[in-house]
């Protein structure tokens, strides 16, 4: 079973997404802030990571950068969830090396399509 890490401070988003992914046969682990997300990514060997951009403690771009610049983790596919908000606009230039981007609000089919690209 493929393991997917979902990190977003919006619990409702994480839970509905995890529910749907489990129904599709994935194992899901959930994180509700950046720090927790980074720890789980490093210790739980996920096959794919879904990261929200605006998260408390460590933002999604930073986690992405930390993982992508580390030889041990750089091969884990990363999907960023962005709200394209003003706060995110200010982070222009920070985005690094994520494999896919999804804009809120998203359709589940869209997420699934992108995941299957890497895990099918």
């Amino acid at each position: 079973m493929k393991k997917i890490l979902i990190a977003d401070d919006e619990r409702d988003i994480v839970e509905t997404l995890a529910f749907m992914l489990r129904a599709k046969g994935f194992e899901c682990i959930c994180a509700y802030d950046g720090e927790e997300g980074l720890n789980l990514a490093k210790n739980e060997n996920p096959d794919l990571v879904i990261l929200d951009v605006m998260m408390p403690k460590i933002n999604g771009y930073k986690i992405c950068r930390l993982l992508k610049f580390d030889n041990k983790y750089k091969n884990i596919p990363i999907i960023m969830i962005t709200a394209r908000s003003q706060d995110e606009d200010k982070m222009i230039g920070e985005e690094t090396g994520a494999d896919e981007y999804i804009t809120k609000p998203f359709e589940f089919s869209e997420v699934l399509e992108k995941i299957n690209k890497y895990l099918a």
Binding site: I13, T16, R84, I92, E107
Partner: protein
């Protein structure tokens, strides 16, 4: 009475006779006493019109010389007495000569004519002095008027006024009471010596009274609270022990209101110990008149800039508000959407057909809501200049085919015939495909909305030249048509638009005003965004429509084969700024040229934030200036440079992009460039 100073030997009979003659003719006389220095002092005190000097006195020549040199400015006429048979080599030192023995008629005549000369000289001297003073005042006035014209700063204008007055009128004390833009009174006192506290208060009261006098018959513009007047003091000679007390008020004074027409700015009063001349009065009035006009301009300018700033701030707050609200709305939509999907898929348990229908309806409306939020966000981004467009050389045909795929089924469901017609191979153009697709989506969705069953919608594209475009039909174009365009046409057999309504449909929220279309849904942002996106592509749009027959929307996307021109145009549109410069230069050393250009502001590049240079080996081919660079601008550059390198057949290593700008900005730029993989070699 004419005064004569005598340097005579009073023992001499002839000299005695002269004294007698002068006394008889009512001259005021003074006699030399003591040595030469004492004589000079005597003359300085007595200020004679004439000096008679006998050659027989001791040191006559030396005395004459001394008088001539040290008393030159007094125009005193010197007359030398000498015996007719005696030759003297210094007679040229004197202004006149009287020979002895004395001839009474000749003597008196000579004396009188020299007195006349002296009077004339005095007058000339006085006139000259006045003339040079007037000339000086005129000069100052002239300079002042050009200084006045050069500023819109109120405080500076008052400073220039006072400086001019000080130069021309050298006043001892000036008291100015003026009002700044928010009608707060400011009292400023310029004084040669330190004024006593009493004087300051007295002048303040006097200024307020002056101010009130002017408005004797009319109601006061501003009721002044004497205590609350801000006071500014400037003292010229701070080191001097001298002070100006209340007696200064009794100095000669000049007073004037500073006003032009009904615009009243304040009052000014000058005090000077030495009385003011009529020329001084003229000069004073000239300056107060002169300052009033630029003060009015300054006031208007201030009002306008304040209003402008307020508007700008409001606009910004509005856009930010829209952006924040839209973002906040978006986040909860995600779990709602997810939950609905879970229910619809039966993952949360079996559902009835009715439940499915209602949940589907909810889901459809959630989609619609997201669309509206997306539109609002786009609009706010466009207005704040934050819309990132990623231009790439792309084929518009594939975008049009995607449209067909997306809309064919919806059209079929509504029993509308949907067709795509492209007869020719279209050239590649610099576009942001996603945004171009957004343009077409908006237009096609509108057509679908307003076309009923059995209608037709067709999508077509062809290449046209600028001369084929009817300029009068274009909807507020940002530029004149120039060169070749790809014309994409969305044609329907829908309800059509009234001719007079066509320009209005691109206005924000235009649907809200038009009740006819109200029931068709949407807030009417689509076409506003469409127009803005077309503008960002340097494109054009025109509409042909007939009521009850149908509408035809034509979008024109420019075809650019010249990289340089396109870069220029693109950078201009990207930065929304005409300060973009693209200079073709031949050698690296010519980079100095950029500095020069910046310095003399030929290109008005002073607000540059970043520069990109495209180099080939040692040769810098193009230098692009990008103020306020965004990620999109950089990405646009990637495309351009790729294309450019193909054109000049360069090796990958031949082209680098470097940032020339100041350390900090430069570093940022280089980092960005690296991230985007722009640096090669």
């Amino acid at each position: 009475m004419t005064k004569v100073f005598l340097l005579l030997n009073l023992e001499d009979n002839q000299n005695k006779e002269i004294v007698n003659l002068l006394e008889q003719n009512q001259f005021e006389l003074a006699f030399a006493q003591g040595n030469i220095e004492e004589n000079i002092l005597q003359i300085n005190n007595f200020l004679p019109d004439l000096i008679l000097i006998d050659n027989k006195i001791e040191h006559c020549e030396f005395t004459l010389r001394q008088i001539k040199t040290s008393l030159k400015h007094l125009n005193i006429q010197t007359i030398l007495l000498k015996d007719s048979d005696k030759a003297l080599d210094f007679i040229a030192l004197a202004d006149g000569l009287i020979e002895l023995p004395l001839k009474i008629d000749t003597f008196l005549f000579t004396i009188n004519s020299h007195i006349k000369t002296k009077n004339n000289l005095d007058r000339l001297y006085e006139n000259n002095k006045e003339l040079s003073r007037s000339l000086y005042q005129l000069n100052v006035l002239y300079n002042t008027s050009s200084q006045f014209a050069g500023t819109l700063n109120t405080n500076k204008l008052y400073d220039i006024m006072l400086e001019a007055m000080e130069k021309t009128l050298s006043f001892d004390v000036s008291a100015v009471l003026v009002f700044n833009s928010d009608f707060k009174p400011v009292f400023s006192l310029n004084s040669l010596y330190t004024p006593t506290e009493n004087l300051v208060d007295a002048l303040k009261i006097r200024s307020v009274l002056n101010y009130k006098t002017i408005f004797e018959s009319a109601p006061l513009l501003v009721q002044q609270d004497f205590e609350n007047i801000e006071t500014i003091q400037k003292i010229k000679q701070t080191r001097s022990n001298k002070v100006f007390g209340l007696e200064s008020i009794s100095f000669d004074s000049l007073f004037a209101p500073i006003k032009v027409g009904d615009d009243f700015f304040g009052v000014i009063e000058l005090f000077r110990q030495k009385p003011f001349s009529s020329e001084d009065v003229t000069c004073f009035q000239a300056i107060t008149h002169q300052v009033a006009l630029p003060l009015r301009s300054a006031k208007l300018y201030e009002e306008i800039s304040v209003a402008n700033k307020k508007l700008e701030k409001l606009e910004k707050i509005k856009s930010e508000f829209v952006s924040i609200v839209s973002h906040e709305l978006r986040t909860p939509l995600t779990p709602i959407n997810n939950s609905l999907e879970i229910i619809l898929n039966g993952q949360a348990g079996e559902i009835t057909e009715d439940t499915r229908n209602f949940i589907s309806m909810t889901k459809r409306n959630i989609l619609r809501l997201s669309g509206i939020i997306e539109d609002l966000l786009d609009l706010s981004r466009i207005q704040t200049g934050k819309l990132d467009l990623k231009y790439k050389l792309s084929d518009i045909t594939s975008s049009l085919e995607l449209m067909q795929k997306t809309f064919e089924q919806v059209a079929n469901e509504k029993e509308i015939k949907f067709s795509l017609l492209i007869d020719e191979k279209l050239p590649e153009v610099y576009i942001d495909s996603r945004r171009i697709e957004q343009i077409f989506t908006n237009l096609i969705s509108n057509s679908l909305k307003f076309t009923s069953a059995n209608g037709e919608i067709s999508l077509g594209a062809k290449v046209i030249d600028d001369f084929e475009i009817d300029e009068t039909k274009l909807i507020s174009p940002i530029d004149k048509p120039n060169g070749k365009y790809i014309q994409v046409t969305v044609k329907d057999t829908g309800v059509g638009i009234k001719k007079e309504d066509i320009p209005k449909i691109f206005d924000k929220f235009s649907q809200i005003e038009s009740t006819l279309n109200r029931n068709k849904g949407g807030v009417g942002l689509g076409l506003t965004i469409t127009k803005q996106l077309i503008d960002s592509h340097l494109g054009l749009i025109f509409v042909d429509s007939e009521e009850k027959v149908g509408s035809e929307f034509n979008v024109l996307i420019p075809i650019s084969d010249d990289v340089k021109t396109f870069t220029m145009d693109l950078l201009r549109s990207l930065t929304n700024n005409d300060d973009v410069g693209l200079i073709k230069i031949n050698h690296k050393k010519d980079l100095n040229l950029i500095e020069d250009l910046k310095n003399n502001k030929m290109l008005n590049l002073s607000r540059l934030s970043k520069e990109i240079v495209i180099e080939k080996e040692d040769i810098v081919e193009y230098c692009a200036f990008i103020p306020h660079i965004t990620l999109a601008s950089y990405e646009a550059m990637v495309g351009l440079i790729d294309n450019y390198s193909k054109q000049i057949n360069a090796n990958e290593n031949d082209i680098i992009i470097s940032s020339l700008h100041s350390a900090k900005n430069g570093k940022d730029a280089v980092e960005l460039v690296k991230k985007l993989g722009l640096t090669r070699g």
